[in-house]
């Protein structure tokens, strides 16, 4: 991993596909953060007379089963969904990194125990685990975030640990000792540089994964409680009208898919940029 800063950025940006991914993700985040400030329709305003309406001037994306504006609900819902997703990914990244660092650095018994627990958690399917935790905790934004954080921890822990181990076994320690610098400082410095690459990639993919999981939970009625907007719940709402008015289910489905797509592209970009052999 001897890339210079410039190399990395250059590789990142010259790849057309990854550029597209970055742009898309940025666009989505901007839309979700600033959109509601521009499009100020109330996402909870019901109008039963105008439910399941096709797109119109007043409602560019139509209305849902309670006559609420879909565009507004997508924007506000995006805030909820992405907030949960990013929080879960960030938290799991931090906790996972901490565990991985401890396990990798100290090695021995601590490593063995932590990694066995890790393996156990990894053996259980992500969504299933998230489902069970969600059922145990109940619905709500905070609970859903927790339910998505916990299953993601082992993945990040394992990654960080591998990075720590590769550094330990690498030449850095030898070189450090040879030049009289304390190994611990070297390890920390190089480990952080090393894991940043992998972590960025995993976190991007983790965003996609968590996003689909949030949608899945919302779809099963376990995520956020109504009337709060949330992409997965919107998908459930619209699912019954898939034939009579597919827009209602198409829009949240597309939102989820595009965001997951963008996150995956970004993850790919990070991986490609750090992977010399590509």
């Amino acid at each position: 991993m001897n890339l210079t800063q410039n190399d990395f950025v250059r590789r990142l940006l010259t790849n057309r596909l990854s550029g597209f991914g970055f742009v898309l993700l940025l666009a989505i985040i901007l839309a979700v953060v600033f959109g509601p400030l521009i499009w100020t329709v109330d996402p909870t305003a019901q109008n039963l007379a105008e439910r399941i309406a096709p797109p119109s001037a007043a409602h560019p994306l139509g209305t849902d089963s309670l006559g609420r504006d879909v565009l507004s609900r997508i924007l506000y819902g995006g805030r909820t969904t992405l907030l949960i997703t990013f929080t879960a990914v960030l938290l799991s990244g931090i906790i996972g990194a901490a565990i991985g660092l401890i396990a990798g650095y100290f090695g021995g018994a601590i490593d063995a125990v932590l990694m066995r627990i890790n393996d156990v958690l990894l053996a259980l399917p992500f969504l299933l685990l998230a489902l069970m935790i969600s059922v145990a905790l109940g619905p709500g934004v905070v609970n859903t975030a927790i339910a998505l954080t916990i299953p993601a921890i082992p993945r990040d822990a394992r990654l960080v640990r591998a990075a720590v181990l590769s550094v330990k076994q690498g030449d850095y320690v030898f070189a450090a000792r040879a030049s009289g610098v304390r190994p611990r400082r070297i390890i920390t410095h190089h480990v952080l540089r090393n894991i940043s690459s992998g972590v960025l990639m995993v976190m991007s993919v983790g965003v996609a994964y968590s996003l689909l999981a949030v949608a899945g939970l919302g779809f099963l009625g376990l995520g956020v409680q109504p009337p709060a907007a949330e992409w997965g719940a919107m998908l459930t709402d619209g699912r019954m009208y898939i034939i009579s008015n597919p827009v209602v289910v198409l829009v949240p489905g597309l939102a989820i898919m595009l965001t997951a797509l963008a996150a995956n592209l970004v993850g790919d970009a990070f991986r490609d940029a750090f992977d010399v052999s590509v």
Binding site: L48, L66, Q225, M240
Partner: protein, 541 residues
């Protein structure tokens, strides 16, 4: 370069293999396509395939398979014991006569002659008594589910039944400890199964045994728990039945159900979303069916914790704030949903008071009443499931109710839970406003409605209006049918004029869409028990 050309070679080899495999599979598939479903038998009735949202049980155990959907499969293989028209004449059941002693304690039921169970043994009084015994007296942990729940609801727990006896081959006598005007209503939902089969272990999932357990026009031939049930005509049934075979398939997802009937996978689909129903009803090649409204959907107000709800003006305001016509038009099937003036019973059922006017929607008046009562900061909690039977938009409806109440300044907290949680939580009085659906039994629901639960016979409702308690007690034990009906109607008027504990939403029926090949299919709650409901005159093709 060499490796590229060979890589290409490998690619083409792989592609060719793939294509060959696909071709082989396609050939096999086409063989399967041309293999038609089994040839129809000699008679012309045909085979009917129905898609339903729920109701294919895990086991055909009466105590546990709760008949949630409008089509209860019991009644195809196990017809109603004591069905009755709304004017209480019996038609088309296992029984053919009903009498009550003057003191209301002994009820005599005559069994129709010549009927047999599907293993050939006769349906006589002795068998019926065996089955009824198991309903009334069996000690089962599943006491309060399915058919058993009817018993405790109607007859109390322990039931006020002293004995059930066969006074002769075709006569059953039910003796009560407390007088009742009429016990046909609770009894009608009890299927009569072959007691010899019920005595055998594992009968409720064994297709062979199930095929012998029935008493109705169709015999079970195949059963996949939670997936489908298949029947064939029982040749020795006492009345002619036209259909040869019947298949009931559970497709939970409403969109998939609509697709099933559209693609011809099934001939009939029950309970589609209102949008799909309307769309298909207007499409060439499909026809719609709708039953009369038989299910009264209403909201009940429970003020146990909130002193603010003790003031009847506040309760009245809640009712006035709800735009029930909008809910009905938005969420219910226009083919079957009708405006309702009162909770608990639908029009035409005993206890319904026709003098009660239509429900008022007046949010301004609601706000005035709230101000008058000095209530500014009211929060109500409500609980619901996502869907229930034909109410596919139950949750959405609750959201709409919440929005209407917010518009007059009342905050609503909505909890959406799964079914078992819902049934476990709804009676614990943590929720102030709850939806209910009730069918034909005014007897049971009035007690539920006005008195506490789960001990419906003892403690009075927290509202504790003495007139209510007195009317309910009188109606329950009266043996004068007219008196009973008058008492129930009085209760309705009390609710509408003074008490405001129940807000009607709509009377709902069941709906179906069928392909044009289906003839004579009816959803017959209008004539309860008529065997047309059991596809007697249905033909396909």
């Amino acid at each position: 370069m060499h490796h590229q050309s060979h890589a290409r070679g490998r690619f083409w080899k792989r592609t060719t293999t793939l294509l060959t495999t696909v071709a082989a599979v396609a050939a096999l598939v086409l063989t399967g396509c041309t293999a038609a479903p089994p040839a129809e038998s000699a008679t012309t009735g045909g085979s009917l395939r129905i898609a339903t949202p729920d109701g294919v049980p895990a086991a055909f155990n009466l105590g546990s398979a709760y008949p949630l959907s409008t089509l209860t499969f019991y009644e195809v293989a196990w017809p109603l014991f004591l069905p009755s028209q709304t004017d209480f004449d019996i038609e088309n059941g296992l029984a053919d006569s009903y009498e009550r002693s003057d003191d209301g304690l002994v009820h005599t039921i005559g069994i129709r002659e010549g009927m047999t169970f599907h293993d050939g043994s006769p349906i006589d009084a002795a068998s019926i008594v065996e089955v009824l015994d198991s309903y009334f007296f069996a000690d089962s942990p599943l006491r309060d589910e399915g058919a058993y729940s009817i018993v405790s609801g109607a007859f109390g727990s322990p039931p006020t039944i002293a004995s059930v006896e066969a006074s002769d081959d075709l006569t059953v006598e039910v003796t009560l400890t407390e007088p009742r005007a009429d016990i046909r209503d609770p009894l009608f939902q009890m299927p009569i199964m072959n007691p010899r089969i019920m005595a055998q272990e594992g009968w409720d999932t064994d297709v062979e045994l199930l095929g012998q357990a029935g008493s109705g026009p169709f015999r079970i031939t195949n059963f996949s728990p939670g997936a489908f049930v298949e029947f064939e005509r029982y040749e020795d049934f006492i009345e002619p039945v036209s259909l040869d075979r019947l298949r009931i398939e559970q497709i939970v997802d409403p969109a998939a159900r609509a697709l099933a009937v559209q693609s011809g996978t099934v001939d009939v689909a029950l309970e589609l979303t209102p949008e799909d129903h309307v769309r298909l009803a207007g499409t060439e090649g499909f026809q719609e069916h709708a039953s009369q409204a038989g299910n009264n959907v209403f909201m009940r107000l429970l003020p146990p914790h909130l002193p603010q709800l003790d003031d009847p003006r506040v309760r009245e305001a809640i009712g006035l704030a709800m735009n029930i016509d909008a809910y009905r038009e938005a969420f219910l099937n226009p083919a079957t949903a009708q405006a309702s003036t009162q909770p608990v019973v639908v029009a035409g059922v005993a206890g319904h008071d026709q003098s009660i006017p239509a429900h008022e929607y007046d949010p301004e008046k609601a706000q005035e009443l709230l101000e008058e009562a000095g209530v500014t900061d009211l929060t109500l909690r409500t609980l619901t499931m996502e869907t229930s039977g034909p109410l596919l938009e139950l949750r959405a409806m609750h959201e709409a109710v919440a929005a209407d109440l917010e518009a007059v300044g009342i905050t609503v907290e909505l909890d959406v839970v799964d079914q078992p949680t819902y049934f476990a939580e709804r009676y614990n009085y943590d929720y102030e406003i709850l939806w209910y659906g009730n069918g034909y039994n005014p007897d049971f629901i009035f007690r539920l409605f006005y008195l506490g639960y789960p001990t419906p016979w003892s403690e009075p409702y927290p509202l504790a209006d003495p007139r209510v308690a007195q009317l309910v007690q009188e109606a329950t034990t009266s043996i004068d049918r007219d008196q009973q009906i008058a008492d129930w109607q009085e209760l309705q008027r009390l609710n509408h004029d003074e008490l405001f504990v129940g807000v009607p939403i709509a009377d709902v029926g069941s709906s179906a869409i069928s392909t044009a090949q289906v003839h004579g299919f009816e959803l017959g709650w209008s004539d309860r028990g008529k065997l047309a409901w059991l596809f007697q005159d249905t033909t396909v093709g």
